[in-house]
Symmetry: D3
Subunit: 70 residues, 6 copies
């Protein structure tokens, strides 16, 4: 499936923390650039999300806030 | 301000497309890794968002979807 | 790409309203069940979103609010 | 209350999975069309969300991503 | 309709800026406490959103980021 | 960091409920005006979120839904 989210960043799963309903997944996009995702535990299992696997971090542009120093 | 969003990725503004209410801002995190943000035009002006400026792309972990090939 | 969003509802594009930065897309999931999406105009063009085309409405479970009468 | 979210889809609760802070609620919109919501456990209790009850799945249009095959 | 969003803050519309697809609505919750909402222009018209009208700002708890000074 | 989210409301932490992956944080903006946030437990710990501390509730304008009575 091709999707409308502007942001589809390729990376590798670094760590998975599993809760009762949700899982926290840390993805490395490049050395030193990591992104964290919270998805349902059910989705993480369906997609076989585990350390080392290649994934895409998909983010809708309207969910990206910008910050500046100062 | 220090904020709770897990994801605060440093980058440089590459392009800004301004609409009537919103602006689309393209940020380069690293060579070949870009992230697009839609923020209000008023915010973009307040923060002086323009090409070349350093910014952070801030994303709540619950807004990051994961995708896998196949 | 297979994605982690729990909700991937198949439908048909019914109408597209194009703005300066965003487009509003109305998708019919079944007779009488419609869902509206706002995506960037750039995404709508990349994906050739137009009336009659088959699409999926993809929604992260954490973005679905529940309501009850009363 | 009448709300601004474009998407207010009527359905019936099919299943509830309760975690420590959040609950996952599966709603059937029509035969074969289901939508999953993650809400706080406190909200699920306040609203008496349980299988068989009628609910609305409420989604802001800016939170609906579109996907296409290929 | 009673809804699951934890946050339903009563206020008064202070200003509306109308774009081509979206409208920006500024709501005063209390003297000096304002909240800004972006909704579709179609929703703003359906709900007769205009200065002086009483509204609720409805926000899902998972969409609230926390910040601290330093 | 100065951020693009239009809504940055100052308040005081009233209560924290800690789950396995997420924490629910209740913030008092003014007497009788509370806002609830769900953030990752890791963020809550990093930021030392506990009752009595001053925080900002940060919300992107596109995540604020409006409601009206009737």
């Amino acid at each position: 499936m091709k999707i409308s989210a502007r942001n589809q960043l390729r990376g590798k799963v670094k760590k998975v923390n599993t809760g009762s309903v949700n899982s926290e997944v840390i993805v490395e996009l490049a050395p030193g650039i990591e992104i964290t995702s919270i998805i349902t535990k059910a989705s993480a299992e369906d997609m076989d999300i585990k350390p080392g696997n290649e994934v895409y971090a998909v983010i809708k542009a309207s969910n990206v806030i910008l910050g500046v120093d100062h």
